[in-house]
Symmetry: C2
């Protein structure tokens, strides 16, 4: 399990990662404004290993999820944050409350690559499978957030085999990624999807259900 | 359709709505930090009108989605934003590119109310149906964002009838909400879900599919 230590939070006055803007406009005659953030669009991939009939997902410590849980227990941490001070978290929660199960995913920040090429790169980096682009099937796209970011995510389905596994995955440690690759057996997948004791994204639940409807009926019987 | 005029953007240095923080920590021995935002958890409701066999969803102009599309066409708008200046958008896109279809939803900002009570309030405010709490069925919960907000969303299913419609819905105009209530006939719903020309959230697609699997088989035959 993750060891998360020496936690401290501070208000963030400037960030390379969060780019807040305000849009001022007039809607049907009424003056309004809306604060939002620019982020990158993204791809996300449901990976199914046909050799062992399991889904391949990733698991990682998510600071934002952890802090959401921490606020439930220590709301005062966020209340006295008017000034630019660093507050030590004296009584942290176990790191496990911030660990989520997610589909393999990545942001679209390489204008020269197609969405499919970026998806294949992420599958290799995060999960260790070298997948030909022709193995990708687009499921659909949607808005991954409408209030704050407005960004679009495109969801793909990729079938892999054990023979395609050329590495461990795990993300790019030099960029701070610490990703664990997890296999969810097909027969346990719907139970897993609706078990709220495993924190996860809606993408995991949706795509597992999509598989049941669209792929499972065509699988060769064992 | 929405008239959106007089658009201008500026960097947002302070916001009541976006609360950016930085978490500093040590993960497995390595010092790291992560910038995130605190937002509220939320509820979201799949509403099915049994009188007319249709889903009830909402449609609204989303500035963040609009700006995401605008950046695709005018990336320079976001590039020269080092200083605190207001930039007029000289060549705006049609408002329609920022209009999304979503499930009825609301943030959890009333500590005295249960999730179910908040869900019923949102159904009334946004869609105009007065629904008893016992008509709500919890589908599941998940993380609605893991990178930036980490917040949790709980998804409910609610059956309504025409008799329960006591108002127009449309949100709270005094709070700036301009929400259009839209009915999607059950027989068109899966086609709608996968038609990417209607921008929508994953919640719409997921919950329509959930309905097909969990509710549709038990509907009385017409």
């Amino acid at each position: 399990m993750e060891a998360i230590e020496e936690l401290a939070i501070q208000p963030c006055t400037s960030s390379l990662y969060l780019r807040p803007f305000r849009l001022c406009y007039r809607q049907n005659g009424t003056k309004k404004f809306w604060d939002f953030m620019r982020t990158h669009d993204s791809v996300s991939i449901l990976i199914f290993n046909t050799s062992r009939q399991c889904f391949v997902v990733v698991k990682q410590f998510r600071p934002a999820v952890y802090m959401c849980e921490l606020e439930r227990h220590h709301p005062e941490l966020f209340e006295n944050q008017d000034k630019e001070s660093l507050s030590r978290v004296e009584d942290p929660l176990p790191a496990a409350v911030g660990v989520t199960y997610e589909l393999c995913a990545g942001i679209i920040d390489k204008p020269d690559l197609s969405l499919e090429e970026i998806a294949c790169e992420e599958i290799l980096e995060e999960c260790g499978y070298r997948v030909p682009i022709t193995n990708l099937r687009k499921i659909t796209s949607y808005r991954s957030g409408v209030g704050v970011t407005g960004s679009r995510q495109t969801l793909f389905y990729a079938e892999v085999t054990d023979q395609m596994r050329t590495g461990e995955g795990g993300g790019q440690p030099e960029e701070g990624e610490l990703i664990e690759v997890v296999e969810i057996p097909l027969e346990d997948s719907m139970k897993f999807a609706y078990d709220e004791t495993f924190p996860k994204t809606m993408g995991v639940i949706f795509s597992f259900m999509w598989f049941q409807t669209n792929i499972a009926p065509k699988l060769p019987k064992k």
